[in-house]
C-alpha cells in the first residue's frame, strides 16, 4: 500500500510538474513593443518606420499565419507608443513595455541617440532590442548583450559606392572626402576613408563642414584645387543639395560624386533638376531593389517575408497611399528578423532569441541579415547605390540587386546644362 501511495505520488508530481511546465511554455501571442517617433523631430522617419513595421506585422499574421512556436502558430502583436522623439519618454515607455505589456522584443526608436537611450533599460529587463534606425557602430561597441542591428552600420554607408567605383575604374586614384560635421556623417567618413585606402585610393582632401551650413564655396574652392577624380560627401538634405549646387556654380567636374542621404530623396531632383544627372548615393533600401527569393537562392541563404512589391503594397495601406522609403523598409525588416529568431529559438526566452539571432543568415526584401555574434553589429546587409539617370533613380550596386548599370564617368555640369543625361547605352 505504502509503495502504491509513493508511486501514485511520484506519478502525480510528474504529471503536475509537466502540466506546470507546459503551462509556462504555452505562449498564445508574441508581443513586439516600439517607442515610435510619431511626433517630435524624428516624426517623418518615425511615421515611415511605423508604416513599415505595421506592413510586415500584417504579412506575418495574414500571410505567414503568425509566429510558429511550440508546434503551433500564434499571432504577432505590435505595441507602439509615441515617444515624441524624446529621451525621457523612450526610457519610461520601454520600462512600461517591458513590465506592464510584457513584450518579448523591442524595436528601438529612430536615431542612434534614442537607440542608445533605450539600450540600458532593455538590458536591465533582458529583452532583445532591435536597432532599426541607429546606424552608429559605437552603439555596438558598448557591450550591450541584447542589442541587434538590422540596418547597415554607418561605417559601411559608402563602402558599396567605393567598391563599385573601384570596379568601374581601376585606374582612379585621387579621392576627396567632404562630410557634414555630425556624429553620423563623421562615422560614415571614417569608414569610407578606411575602405578607400584599402582599395588603393589616395585621399587628397579630407574635411568636414558645420551643420546648417549656408555657403560651401570656400570648402569647395579648396577641394577643386586638390584635383580629385572622385568625391564622397554629404550629411543631410539641405547641405547635400547645397553641395551639388555650388559644385555646379564653381564648375567642379569629377568622374563620380557620391553623397549620403540627399541623393536618395526625390526632393533632390526637384530642387536641382538636370544637375543631379549621374550623381550617386548610398541607401539602406530603394524601391525596386532586386532582393527576392530567387536572389536568396542564388547566394545560398533562406528567404523570409514579403517581396518588395508586397511590402510596398502593404505599407501603402497604412501610409494613406504614400510610397514607403528606406526608413519604412529598415523598420519593416525588424519584425521579420525577430519572428525568424523566435521561430528558430522555438521560445520567447530572451537568451534563446538572442542566441538564435547569432545563427541567422537570411534575406528579406530589405536585404541580407547576419550579425556579429559578440556585438550584435550588422555585418551582411549591403547598402544599395542609386544613380540619377535621365531623371530617374536607378539602383546600380550591388550587382545582385541592381536594376541598371552605372553611368561612368559622370557628365560635366556644362554637358548636363546642354541636356546630356547619364543614361548608359
Amino acid at each position: 500500500m505504502k509503495e502504491y501511495c509513493l508511486k501514485s505520488a511520484i506519478i502525480f508530481m510528474a504529471v503536475f510538474g509537466l502540466l506546470l511546465t507546459t503551462n509556462a511554455l504555452a505562449v498564445d501571442k508574441v508581443v513586439l513593443g516600439h517607442p515610435a517617433c510619431l511626433s517630435g523631430k524624428f516624426a517623418k522617419a518615425g511615421s515611415q518606420a511605423s508604416w513599415g513595421i505595421k506592413a510586415c506585422v500584417k504579412w506575418i499574421n495574414e500571410v505567414n499565419g503568425g509566429v510558429k512556436i511550440g508546434g503551433k502558430k500564434v499571432p504577432l502583436v505590435y505595441k507602439p507608443y509615441d515617444c515624441e522623439s524624446k529621451k525621457e519618454m523612450v526610457t519610461s515607455l520601454i520600462g512600461r513595455l517591458a513590465t506592464i505589456e510584457k513584450v518579448h522584443g523591442i524595436i528601438a526608436a529612430y536615431s542612434s541617440g534614442l537607440t542608445l537611450t533605450g539600450a540600458p533599460v532593455a538590458e536591465k529587463y533582458g529583452i532583445p532590442y532591435l536597432s532599426q534606425g541607429g546606424a552608429s557602430n559605437r552603439i555596438f561597441q558598448q557591450g550591450f548583450q541584447y542589442a541587434v542591428q538590422v540596418l547597415s552600420p554607418a561605417t559601411l554607408y559608402q563602402a558599396g559606392a567605393v567598391d563599385m567605383l573601384r570596379k568601374a575604374d581601376p585606374s582612379a586614384k585621387r579621392m576627396a572626402l567632404a562630410f557634414e560635421d555630425s556624429e553620423f556623417a563623421r562615422m560614415v567618413l571614417r569608414g569610407a576613408e578606411k575602405h578607400a585606402k584599402e582599395l588603393g585610393f589616395k585621399i587628397v582632401f579630407n574635411r568636414t563642414y558645420p551643420k546648417h551650413v549656408n555657403d560651401l564655396t570656400p570648402l569647395l574652392s579648396d577641394l577643386k584645387a586638390a584635383k580629385p577624380e572622385i568625391i564622397l560627401g554629404g550629411g543631410h538634405f539641405p547641405d547635400g543639395q547645397l553641395f551639388a549646387r555650388q559644385m555646379s556654380d564653381l564648375d567642379i567636374n569629377v568622374k563620380a560624386l557620391s553623397m549620403i542621404v540627399a541623393v536618395t530623396l526625390p526632393a533632390f531632383r526637384e530642387a536641382l533638376g538636370a544637375k543631379t544627372e549621374g550623381i550617386v548615393g548610398p541607401a539602406q533600401w530603394e524601391f525596386g531593389v532586386k532582393y527576392s527569393p530567387a536572389a536568396a537562392k542564388k547566394v545560398g541563404v533562406p528567404w523570409f517575408g514579403p517581396t518588395n512589391e508586397e511590402f510596398v503594397k502593404l505599407a501603402k495601406e497604412f501610409s494613406g497611399g504614400k510610397t514607403p522609403d528606406y526608413h519604412a523598409a529598415e523598420a519593416g525588416a525588424a519584425p521579420l528578423v525577430f519572428v525568424k529568431a523566435v521561430e528558430l529559438a522555438n521560445s520567447v526566452e530572451p537568451d534563446k532569441i538572442r542566441a538564435a539571432f547569432n545563427k541567422m543568415d537570411l534575406m528579406t526584401f530589405f536585404g541580407e541579415f547576419k550579425i556579429n555574434p559578440d556585438t550584435g553589429l550588422q555585418t551582411r546587409h549591403s547598402m544599395v547605390v542609386v544613380q540619377w539617370q535621365g531623371g530617374k533613380k536607378v539602383i546600380v550596386w550591388p550587382e545582385e540587386a541592381a536594376t541598371g548599370k552605372l553611368y561612368y564617368p559622370m557628365p560635366t555640369f556644362a554637358e548636363k546644362a546642354k541636356g546630356k543625361v547619364a543614361v548608359p547605352r
Binding site: E84, K87, I94, G95, L116, V121, Q141, D181, S182
Partner: protein, 333 residues
C-alpha cells in the same frame, strides 16, 4: 524652537510627493521609469524656479547648464575609468565636476547677460546656448559633434550588473535627492535675506536698487544656484542614466521650454509649484501617449492652454490664495 521648525513645514508636501512617487515606482510594476521621468521634470522645474520664479528673468538658454553638467559626468567616467579601485568615487567626481562646470558657465553667462533685462536677457541667453554648442562642435572639444559614448567604460568600472543597476535605478534615486535638495535651497532662499532681496527685485528692480539692494549680487547668486542644481540633475538623469551624450541632444532648446511650462503651470516663485507643474505636465503627456499614441499632442496643447487660462498664477498660486487663513496655509508656499 517650534516656530523655527514650523518654517520648514512647506517642505512636507514636496517631500511627501517625492516619497509617494518613489514608493509607487518601487512597488507598482512598470512604474519606475515613469516615476523617473516625473522626478526629472520636478527636479528641473525646481532648479529653474530658483531663477525664473524668484527673479522673474526668463533664461531661454537654460539647457546649456544641463548640457555642461552632463559633460561633467561623461568626462569623469570616460577619463577615469582605467584607474583601478576608483569605483563609486568616479560618480562623486562626476557630480562635483557637473556642479563646478555648470556653476562656472553660469558665472560667465551671468556676468554678461544679467546686465540686460527682459527680452534682451532672453535673447542673449539663447545666443549663449547655441554659441556654446557650436563652440564644442566647431572646436571639436570633448569629442565635438560625435559626443561621448561611455556605456562601455561605465560597464568596465562597475561590471555589467552593477552598471545596469546604477543607470536604471540609482541614477533616478540621485535625481530624487537633488530634487529634495532643490526644494530645501528654494525654501532657505525664501526664508532668508536672499529671498526678500529677490522678491524686491522681481517686483521692481529699480526700486530695489534705490533701496540699497545689490541686485546684481542676488541675481547672480540665484543664477549660479539654479544652474549648478540643474547641472547636477542632468549629470545624473542624462549622464549616469543614459551613459552617452550628443551635443545636439543635450543642448536642445525644447528642454528650456519644458522648464518654463512646468514652472508657469505650477506657479512661478512658489515652492510646491514646480512639483505640481511637473506632475501635471509629465502625467498628461505619458497617459495621453498610452491612450492615443501619435495624437497626444493635439489634446495635450489645449489642456495646457486651458490650465494656463484657468490658473494664471499657476495651480499652486491659486491654491495658495484659497488656503489663506486655513490650517493648510503654512504648508503651501
Amino acid at each position: 524652537m517650534s516656530s523655527k521648525i514650523a518654517r520648514y513645514y512647506p517642505l512636507i508636501p514636496v517631500y511627501a510627493a517625492y516619497l509617494i512617487l518613489f514608493l509607487i515606482g518601487r512597488n507598482v510594476t512598470g512604474m519606475w521609469q515613469l516615476m523617473a521621468m516625473l522626478v526629472f521634470y520636478c527636479a528641473i522645474g525646481q532648479a529653474f524656479n530658483i531663477f525664473l520664479g524668484m527673479t522673474g528673468y526668463v533664461d531661454f538658454g537654460y539647457v546649456a547648464f544641463m548640457g555642461i553638467g552632463t559633460y561633467g559626468m561623461a568626462l569623469s567616467i570616460s577619463h577615469l575609468y582605467q584607474i583601478e579601485g576608483l569605483g563609486m568615487w568616479v560618480i562623486l567626481i562626476g557630480a562635483v565636476l557637473a556642479i563646478l562646470m555648470s556653476g562656472a558657465l553660469s558665472v560667465a553667462v551671468g556676468a554678461v547677460a544679467l546686465r540686460l533685462r527682459g527680452a534682451y536677457f532672453a535673447i542673449a541667453t539663447i545666443g549663449v546656448n547655441e554659441g556654446f554648442r557650436f563652440l564644442i562642435e566647431g572646436a571639436k572639444i570633448w569629442g565635438g559633434s560625435e559626443g561621448i559614448i561611455f556605456s562601455g567604460q561605465f560597464t568596465h568600472i562597475f561590471g555589467r550588473k552593477t552598471a545596469s543597476l546604477i543607470s536604471t535605478t540609482w541614477a533616478d534615486i540621485f535625481v530624487i535627492l537633488v530634487a529634495c535638495l532643490g526644494a530645501f535651497v528654494t525654501l532657505r532662499f525664501m526664508l532668508g535675506k536672499i529671498g526678500y532681496a529677490l522678491m524686491a527685485l522681481r517686483e521692481d528692480e529699480d526700486a530695489a536698487k534705490v533701496m540699497g539692494i545689490n541686485v546684481t549680487k542676488y541675481k547672480i547668486i540665484a543664477f549660479i544656484t539654479s544652474a549648478s542644481l540643474v547641472g547636477l540633475v542632468a549629470a545624473f538623469a542624462w549622464g549616469l542614466k543614459l551613459t552617452y551624450l550628443f551635443p545636439d541632444e543635450i543642448f536642445d532648446i525644447s528642454y528650456t521650454v519644458e522648464c518654463i511650462i512646468i514652472v508657469l503651470l505650477g506657479g512661478a516663485g512658489t515652492l510646491l509649484g514646480p512639483v505640481a507643474g511637473a506632475l501635471i505636465y509629465g502625467l498628461s503627456k505619458y497617459w495621453l501617449t498610452i491612450i492615443l499614441p501619435g495624437f497626444q499632442l493635439l489634446i495635450f496643447a489645449p489642456i495646457i492652454i486651458v490650465i494656463v487660462v484657468a490658473f494664471p498664477e499657476g495651480v499652486v498660486g491659486v491654491l495658495k490664495r484659497r488656503v489663506r487663513g486655513t490650517v493648510l496655509e503654512k504648508f503651501i508656499v
